[in-house]
């Protein structure tokens, strides 16, 4: 199956621009699995780049429960569906989430860079429990290779195209 | 009989004119104070300024918006009131001087008091020497030297006989002496010090504070009633020494006491403001033109005119080059121009 030329162009542009989009948000999220089994505990990895002192507040969809994190106790605050992390020179934070029997939604997040004096949203990650009983896990924490989460959200594509337009607009200045 | 009635009618008309004049002045002064408080480089509406005043007086009932309270009470209000009080004092002192020297061109500075105060300030600024320390260095010196000048006049006049001519001559001598000393100090001093001395001579109400206002008000409150009490003596003196003596006025003692009081009022004002000229000269003149030369009304009325003049000059000084604030002495110096032109054009043969 060959892709049409303009699709190829879009992907090429995307590949060129994704680094630009990623720099705009210092926090990117990846899930160990986007389709956990019922009651399965999966791992969420937050990659932080360029932010030394700041905060991230994650909001889990209904039914999903925060289990644990590798960050020290005094830097985490969990309440209801939300978890706040105080980022202090961390480049990665992982935390475990238990999926319900069934249900889907988006894990959204807000980040704030206190030193850089900026803030924004972490790109949403869609997760859907597939209703199949999963075996009990021994507990997460291993680095999980990121699945293709970025493309699941149309927002990231729009942001990437916008960044490309801006980049080409500014290119003439220098 | 009819003549008596005519005179009485004329006199009651004059009394009414005087009452109206003084009443009008008071009203104008209140309005001008109300206006002056709203002037300044901070952007408040008129309502906010008044709200700030009320909030300062009745803190429970009113609250001032933002910085308005601080700015109005710490920077504007005491400055406006100080201009009123200083203008009043200078005009009254000028009035008294014109009375005892029998010279309509006399002013509080005719006897060299301004020059002496400037010398005191220069000594404080250039040599750092003075009677009081810290922030009162310049103020204390200026006041002391102004009084020294007055005492020098007194001493010289006693030696040669007290009369208006001798006092004026002594005043000129004192003025030249102190001017020369000031010039020498200005030459010797550094560029910074020279600048400070020159700034002082411009005369400004910038450095007013509530305590300074209290001091000046206190001095005026003590001296003005006495002057009013003795206003009739001034009326007599205006007629001439012999006439006054025959009316039972102790001529020499009165002249000296009046001179010292006028010097005291002038000294206490200019030690805080620097030399502000023409108020003491122009205000009594204008008042005399309106309500005649009876010191019982001339004194308070010229005080009010002086207050109005100085407050207007200060308001102009704050607005004309906004946000820069001109020293008010420069604006009052310009006042002298139309005044003397008017005198020149309307000269009457003596």
């Amino acid at each position: 199956m060959s892709l049409p030329a303009n699709h190829l162009l879009c992907i090429a542009l995307l590949l060129m621009v994704v680094p630009a989009a990623a720099c705009a948000s210092p926090v990117t999220r990846s899930l160990s699995t986007a389709e956990p089994g019922a009651g399965e505990v999966f791992t969420v990895l937050l990659s932080i780049e360029g932010m030394t002192l700041g905060g991230v507040v994650e909001t889990l969809p209904a039914g999903y429960a925060f289990v644990a994190t590798d960050l020290a106790d005094d830097r985490v605050l969990a309440r209801g569906q939300q978890v706040a992390f105080a980022v202090m020179n961390d480049s990665r934070i992982t935390y475990q989430v238990r999926a319900p029997a069934s249900g889907s939604g988006d894990i959204t997040g807000r980040w704030e860079d206190f030193l850089g004096e900026s803030d924004g949203q972490v790109a949403a990650s869609h997760v859907a429990a597939d209703g199949i009983e999963a075996p009990v896990e021994s507990g997460g924490g291993d680095p999980v290779p990121p699945a293709a989460q970025e493309t699941g959200s149309p927002f990231a594509v729009l942001a990437a195209v916008a960044a490309l337009l801006l980049a080409s607009g500014r290119g003439g200045r220098r | 009989m009819e003549q008596n009635v005519i005179i009485q009618k004329g006199y009651s008309r004059l009394k009414k004119t005087r009452a109206l004049f003084i009443g009008g002045l008071l009203a104008a002064l209140v309005i001008l104070i109300g206006l002056a408080v709203t002037l300044g480089s901070a952007d408040f509406t008129v309502g906010e300024s008044y709200l700030a005043i009320l909030a300062g007086l009745f803190p429970g009932t009113f609250t001032a918006p933002g910085m308005a309270g601080i700015i109005v009470w710490d920077y504007r209000l005491h400055r406006v009131l100080f201009a009123v009080v200083a203008g009043f004092g200078l005009a009254v002192a000028g009035c008294v001087m014109q009375g005892i020297l029998r010279n309509p061109l006399a002013s509080p500075f005719t006897l060299g008091i301004a020059s002496a105060a400037t010398t005191g300030a220069s000594i404080a600024i250039v040599l750092g020497a003075g009677v009081a320390g810290g922030e009162f260095l310049v103020i204390g010196n200026a006041f002391l030297f102004a009084l020294l000048a007055a005492l020098a006049i007194y001493g010289m006049a006693r030696y040669r006989g007290i009369g208006s001519e001798t006092m004026v001559l002594a005043g000129i001598a004192v003025m030249y002496l102190f001017s020369a000393v000031t010039s020498l100090l200005q030459y010797v001093g550094s560029a910074e010090e020279l600048r400070a001395v020159v700034f002082w001579t411009f005369g400004s109400v910038d450095k007013s504070t509530w305590p300074k206002l209290a001091i000046v008000s206190l001095v005026l409150a003590c001296t003005i009633p006495y002057l009013l009490y003795r206003a009739w003596d001034l009326n007599a003196l205006a007629e001439g020494d012999e006439v006054a003596a025959s009316l039972g006025v102790p001529v020499e003692r009165s002249m000296m006491v009046m001179m010292m009081i006028a010097s005291l009022i002038t000294a206490v004002i200019i030690c805080f403001t620097g030399t502000i000229g023409f108020i003491g000269l122009v205000a009594p003149h204008i008042t005399r033109m309106a309500i005649g030369g009876d010191f019982r009304t001339l004194l308070p009325a010229s005080g009010l005119v002086g207050a109005l003049l100085l407050l207007s000059a200060d308001s102009i000084a704050r607005s004309v080059l906004a946000p820069q604030v001109l020293p008010v002495g420069i604006v009052t110096a310009f006042l002298g121009v139309p005044f003397f032109i008017y005198l020149f054009l309307h000269r009457r043969s003596a």
Partner: protein, 406 residues
């Protein structure tokens, strides 16, 4: 890890929040008030803020509070910063400076050399405001007048957290401004820095650098400044007294020289020159024209600038400098002076000899007085590096401005 710990933490936060709210004059987040923001305190402050901002919690740390706490944690190691200014007063800073008013152009320039974010300067004095070429970013800022004619209302309206004044000049006037500011607004910090005196400038650079959290850049800039000045001092120290050049330094006005405490006199001496007219206490004495010819100076330096307004940053006007120099050469009797015979008559602009850039001007003086000793000194390069590397303005010395001639 388990819910009970989290609950305890949450309860602790709820208790901690009112305590931190009452610490008005302290680093935000310093709950126990011991003036040290430990990482634990910072972490809990961050969580309190995030809770209040995004999770509907009840905390009263604002965004500015947590940003200040992060800044203090990163730049001052969580501790308050004690600043001793050039008048000897010590002030304690618990938060970074966010709204600065400068009454002195030299302090403003030094802040810029240290990489301070100029957006945080909310108002400047009227002279800096008028320097369109040198301070282009200050054109839009508020104008607070000058030391001698300050617009106090404007300063207060801007609600600054720091005001910069001079330390050793106009002291009475600056003291008055300081007193009035502190009486009206107790939270204002008033800093007294000269930033133009060779003796105190390096220390001031380092002090201001630590106040604005730019220690490294401060060290770099101080080292740059000191390398030039030390080179001049060391070079001039070894000259025996009878070999020192006689200099006639003329101020903006004809036949007026500099003496005593005048800064230009000090710099002439620093560069190794001898000013035979520097007797007496007057700073800018007028000299007898005959005395100049009799003294026979070996170098003549003329100052251009405020009183003789040509060149500097405002204009590229070599012809005007040449005209000034030619005018001096034509003075009666001057053709017999050594300086004229050896072609050692120079014009220099006060922009680089007074103020914060005095090290550049002094380098030029040293090079003119002793070209052999200071052959390796390149004032032009120092000037360009100062402008491009530290001041960060787009100014090319080759084509803009006139500062020295020839």
């Amino acid at each position: 890890m388990n819910r009970r710990c989290l609950l305890a933490l949450a309860l602790l936060l709820i208790v901690a929040v009112p305590a931190s709210a009452s610490a008005m004059d302290g680093t935000p987040g310093d709950v126990d008030g011991d003036r040290v923001l430990t990482s634990a305190e910072y972490a809990s402050a961050a969580l309190t803020y995030l809770d209040a901002a995004y999770m509907g919690g009840a905390g009263d740390l604002t965004r500015t509070d947590i940003r200040d706490a992060a800044w203090v944690s990163a730049h001052w190691d969580g501790r308050p910063c004690e600043i001793t200014d050039s008048s000897g007063r010590t002030t304690t800073l618990y938060r970074p400076l966010r709204r600065v008013v400068t009454f002195s152009g030299e302090s403003l320039e030094t802040l810029r050399s240290l990489g301070f974010d100029m957006e945080k300067v909310v108002a400047v004095d009227k002279y800096s405001h008028g320097k369109k070429t040198f301070f282009p970013e200050c054109q839009g800022k508020a104008n607070v007048g000058s030391i001698w004619s300050p617009d106090m209302e404007q300063v207060l309206i801007l609600r600054p957290d720091a005001v910069f004044l001079y330390a050793t000049i106009s002291t009475a006037t600056c003291d008055d401004i300081q007193k009035r500011l502190e009486a009206s607004s107790p939270g204002i910090r008033v800093f007294r820095f000269d930033c133009f005196k060779p003796a105190t400038y390096p220390g001031e650079i380092r002090t201001i650098a630590s106040a604005v959290g730019q220690k490294e850049r401060g060290e770099e800039f101080a080292a740059f400044y000191e390398s030039t000045m030390n080179r001049i001092r060391d070079g001039a120290a070894g000259i025996p007294d009878d070999e020192r050049v006689r200099v006639y330094f003329e101020y903006w006005f004809d036949y007026t020289t500099v003496a005593a405490g005048a800064g230009y006199n000090e710099k002439t001496r620093l560069a190794g020159g001898v000013n035979p007219f520097a007797t007496g206490t007057a700073e800018y004495p007028v000299v007898d024209p005959e005395a100049i010819i009799v003294t026979d100076p070996e170098v003549v330096v003329k100052l251009a600038g405020q009183g003789l307004a040509v060149g500097g940053y405002a204009g590229h006007d070599i012809a005007a400098f040449d005209a000034i120099r030619a005018g001096m050469l034509e003075r009666p009797g001057w053709s017999s002076i050594s300086a004229v015979k050896d072609d050692r008559v120079y014009v220099i602009h006060s922009d680089i000899l007074g103020g914060a850039q005095h090290f550049i001007g002094t380098a030029y003086l040293a090079k003119w007085f002793y070209p052999d000793r200071f052959a390796d000194l390149d004032p032009h390069a120092v000037h360009q590096r100062y402008l491009t590397g530290f001041q960060g303005i787009d100014f090319d010395l080759a084509s803009e401005g006139t500062f020295v001639y020839p």
